[in-house]
């Protein structure tokens, strides 16, 4: 009766029945959802599920300080800078140095204190101005004053420009690795245009280099995502493989993997926690050595921890750790146990197993040094290094406790906290992850030189000093770097555990993602559609 009345009322008013309205609403909702989930929004859409080969989408864990190469460090920022700023020399994926903006170079005279290079004549910055010797001089002078972490990487005392395309660097001390330092690895070679250098604030958002791409500031948000389009002034247009490159910053490894799996990225930096899942999901996992992890022995003079001044104690520490177990248990697949600090030019495979695991020998050495009952050592470790940080330090502490050496470990949550304590002079040792692209010439400057930043007690070894000085001025320094490795290992100046591994996840339609210890950041300029 009630329903009949209602039907009559609805018919009279022209109103549709409730079930019909409900069905129409449900249909509209389903259609809306279907439309939203089906359409990708075009190739510029970050959510695109079908980006063509003309767009390259890269995922990086960090972006560096800014787009200005003069204030950045190495790592992810190198990959971004390489897109926009061609370097003076070019680092190949195998670590060899080849022409970049400079077509040729050589040291003038002997002693490695004058370096001359000739620039290519057809290079232009993204603002259309030519790459000249004056522009390069202006950039190098600005770079030294900008205060970035690489500001003093080349000790330039003066710069001459003998013509529009020839530059001569006068060095305040011998330096045999200038060609390597002028490559993409150390930022100083990423020349920017004179107009941008005159307005350094603009470099933060528009680096105005002579690279194959240029940034689109309106489609970029600092530290989140960046968009690049081809630079029409680039000197070799055939090397521009993509119409568009986007870089998305994703700090979380699991989120990075999800973005890859949902087809939002083509290439991404990975880590040990997701490498296996990425491989299972059908991505090419490109892995390679990425520096070394271990304990940095800072107080070799025994200022705050007298035991560390004795070579027998340092050797005992090296014998007491089970590198193989720590490498596989903590660092995961691919980590290679080693007793030497890895450098690009001093690496010697024969020293990898120099200190094989031998707790009895460690105890004997400690007894001989007068520390038969062990001793205590304060150590800091970096939480933000993941497994290579505090977990590795804790594993070392566990092994050392078996021979009586008690490590008191302080966990540092942030890089700024860790570095402050690292260079502050209060801790005699520290958990450490050394970048892979460090030549022995530089490792000495960081760790062993009398005024090195990580040698605050002012310790020195005359033998090591002499090897470095001779190598610095030699026409062929390679043998000196190997001898320095031997010295560092036999005197147990450090406590390396293993060389670590970096992982890159690559979709099947991208090729050319390669890297080596000397070129640890695979450059997107080398990648192309498959």
């Amino acid at each position: 009766m009630r329903n009949a009345q209602r039907s009559t009322r609805l018919r009279a008013s022209g109103e549709k029945p409730r079930w019909l309205r409900a069905a129409a609403g449900a249909l509209a909702a389903v259609t809306g959802i279907a439309v939203l989930t089906a359409c990708g929004g075009g190739s510029t859409d970050a959510s695109s599920g079908s980006a063509g080969k003309t767009e390259l989408r890269i995922g990086l864990q960090t972006a560096g300080t800014s787009l200005n190469p003069a204030v950045n460090g190495s790592g992810s920022s190198t990959q971004i800078s390489a897109l926009t700023n061609a370097a003076i020399t070019h680092i190949q994926p195998d670590g060899s140095v080849s022409p970049g903006l400079a077509t040729s170079w050589h040291y003038v005279g002997s002693g490695n204190t004058q370096f001359q290079f000739t620039l290519r004549q057809d290079a232009k910055f993204s603002d259309g101005s030519p790459v000249t010797s004056q522009a390069v001089k202006g950039w190098l002078e600005y770079f030294a004053k900008a205060g970035g972490s690489f500001a003093k990487s080349i000790p330039i005392s003066s710069i001459d420009t003998t013509d529009d395309h020839t530059v001569v660097l006068h060095l305040s001390s011998p330096n045999p690795i200038v060609p390597y330092l002028l490559s993409e690895v150390f930022n100083i070679g990423f020349v920017a245009s004179p107009a941008a250098v005159a307005d350094p604030a603009s470099l933060a958002t528009n680096p105005a280099g002579a690279g194959p791409y240029q940034v689109v500031p309106s489609e970029s948000v600092a530290n989140d995502h960046y968009t690049f389009v081809p630079n029409k002034h680039y000197y070799d247009q055939s090397k521009i493989k993509y119409n568009k490159v986007t870089v998305k910053i994703i700090p979380q490894a699991s989120t990075m993997l999800a973005a890859l799996q949902s087809n939002q990225l083509d290439v991404a930096s990975g880590d040990v926690s997701t490498a296996e899942a990425a491989s299972s999901a059908g991505f090419n996992v490109v892995s390679g050595p990425f520096g070394w992890a271990g304990i940095l022995i800072i107080d070799r003079s025994g200022t705050t921890s007298p035991a560390l001044a004795d070579v027998r104690v340092r050797q005992a520490l090296n014998y007491a750790v089970d590198r193989k177990a720590i490498a596989s248990g903590v660092l995961g697949k691919g980590a290679i146990p080693t007793s030497q600090p890895i450098t690009t030019d001093g690496y010697d495979p024969s020293y990898d197993d120099y200190y094989s695991y031998d707790p009895d020998k460690a105890k004997a050495l400690l007894s001989a040094a007068g520390y038969g009952n062990g001793f205590s050592l304060n150590v800091i470790c970096p939480v933000y290094y993941g497994a290579a940080g505090c977990p590795l330090t804790e594993a070392v502490a566990q092994d050392l406790s078996k021979v009586g050496v008690k490590l008191t470990v302080k966990n540092n949550a942030t890089q700024s906290e860790h570095v402050k304590l690292l260079v502050g002079g209060t801790y005699p040792a520290a958990g450490f992850l050394q970048n892979p692209n460090v030549p022995m010439f530089q490792l000495y400057g960081f760790d062993f030189a009398p005024k090195a930043v990580l040698n605050h007690p002012g310790w020195n070894d005359p033998t090591l000093d002499k090897l470095w000085q001779d190598g610095s001025a030699a026409a062929d320094p390679a043998p000196y770097w190997k001898q320095m490795t031997a010295r560092v290992v036999t005197e147990a100046y450090q406590l390396p555990i293993a060389s670590t591994v970096a992982h890159w996840y690559v979709a099947k339609h991208v090729t050319g993602v390669k890297f080596s210890p000397a070129s640890s950041s695979p450059l997107p300029t080398e990648w192309s559609p498959n």
């Binding site: 939203l36 859409d45 970050a46 205060g147 989120t255 973005a259 799996q261 949902s262």
Partner: protein, 347 residues
């Protein structure tokens, strides 16, 4: 800050019967002070609040170990480089002087520049603010519609929903937004590939892309709000529907739908508005996690990275922005409550 509310049938002063069954008088008739005074009062309160928040955030970030110079230069710069950079950035000065310098600039409308990127803080905030506002706005809208709808359905018992509001409340309270976010990505982005796992598309770029980029983060952020609002709506409605004036209305033959929507709902609306205001502030905190899970370029992810890097001007800028957001939300809720229940306008 939010005006006191009534949720049950108040007999009021209407001589013809229950006031809730009659047309309410315009809000301005109940105002004891003009609107301008209210806004002025809130702004006056906001100034010391902003100073307190900025001073506290400055102090807290300063107290955490490390500083921006070592974050920028890393572990391998020459020792003098750290000192030079600290001097350049003004980090050598005592914290109170640094704060005073920042405050002096901020009072002139200049929030300074990021110590890392060198970009103007205000510019960085303007770039990222829309993302956070769309995220929170979307989550509030979804919470309001779904939460209130669910609460009402559970009271009326239609479609067999019964105690569903309670169930949703338990689920919403028990599961943190970031976990829900991760699970939604695993199902809808990775497995089904219906929606993007990360990133944000502005509506200017693509309207469908914008909607698609917000669906999962908004869902993750709104589940808690849905639970709270469903629970609150259900309880408030049960209170009202059991009150005397509703029994009177039923006795007078007023249809159930009219009682529910025209009278009972109007009665509980201020309470819902208040809960929604609280949820807006809760969501501001939740957005920090959700933005990180979905790699959204909003203020939440910005303040996390700024705090880790000791980028004090940037932390300050975002903290001030968050405080203004809270003040504005409270003011809005005051207005809404006043409009819905003019007798509450007794500030």
């Amino acid at each position: 800050m939010v005006a006191e509310l009534t949720t049950s049938g108040d007999p009021g002063q209407n001589s013809r019967g229950n006031p809730l069954l009659t047309r309410v008088r315009p809000a301005h008739q109940f105002m004891r002070r003009p609107l301008v005074t209210l806004v002025g009062q809130r702004v006056a309160l906001a100034v010391p609040l902003l100073m307190l928040v900025s001073a506290l955030s400055y102090l807290l970030v300063s107290l955490t170990p490390g500083d921006a110079a070592v974050s920028i230069l890393g572990p391998t710069a020459p020792p003098e480089a750290y000192d030079n950079l600290r001097h350049t950035l003004g980090l050598n000065e005592p914290v109170y002087k640094q704060y005073g310098h920042w405050l002096g600039q901020a009072l002139q409308g200049d929030l300074g520049r990021s110590l890392f990127s060198g970009q103007a803080v205000s510019e960085m905030i303007v770039q990222r603010l829309p993302v956070t506002l769309w995220l929170i706005g979307g989550a509030l809208l979804v919470s309001l519609i779904a939460g209130v709808g669910l609460g009402m359905l559970s009271v009326t018992g239609r479609f067999g929903l019964g105690r569903l509001a309670d169930l949703v409340a338990v689920i919403g309270f028990a599961m943190p937004a970031f976990w829900i976010g991760v699970e939604l990505v695993a199902i809808f982005a990775v497995k089904l590939r219906w929606l993007p796992a990360i990133g944000y598309v502005s509506p200017e770029q693509s309207l469908t892309g914008w909607l698609r980029s917000l669906i999962l983060p908004v869902t993750a952020l709104s589940l808690h709000g849905i639970a709270v609002l469903a629970k609150q709506t259900r309880e408030a409605l049960l209170d009202v529907l059991n009150s005397e004036f509703v029994h009177d209305a039923r006795s007078n033959g007023i249809p159930e739908r009219s009682i529910l929507f025209r009278h009972a709902f109007k009665n509980i609306a201020p309470r819902i508005a208040t809960v929604l205001g609280v949820q807006a502030v809760v969501m501001l905190g939740g957005s920090v996690l959700v933005e990180n899970v979905y790699a959204l370029p909003g203020l939440g992810s910005l303040i996390v990275s700024a705090a880790v890097q000791h980028d004090l001007p940037l932390v300050q800028g975002v903290a001030v922005c968050f405080t203004i957001f809270v003040v504005v939300i409270n003011l809005l809720i005051d207005f809404i409550c006043m409009a819905l229940n003019p007798r509450s306008a007794t500030w």
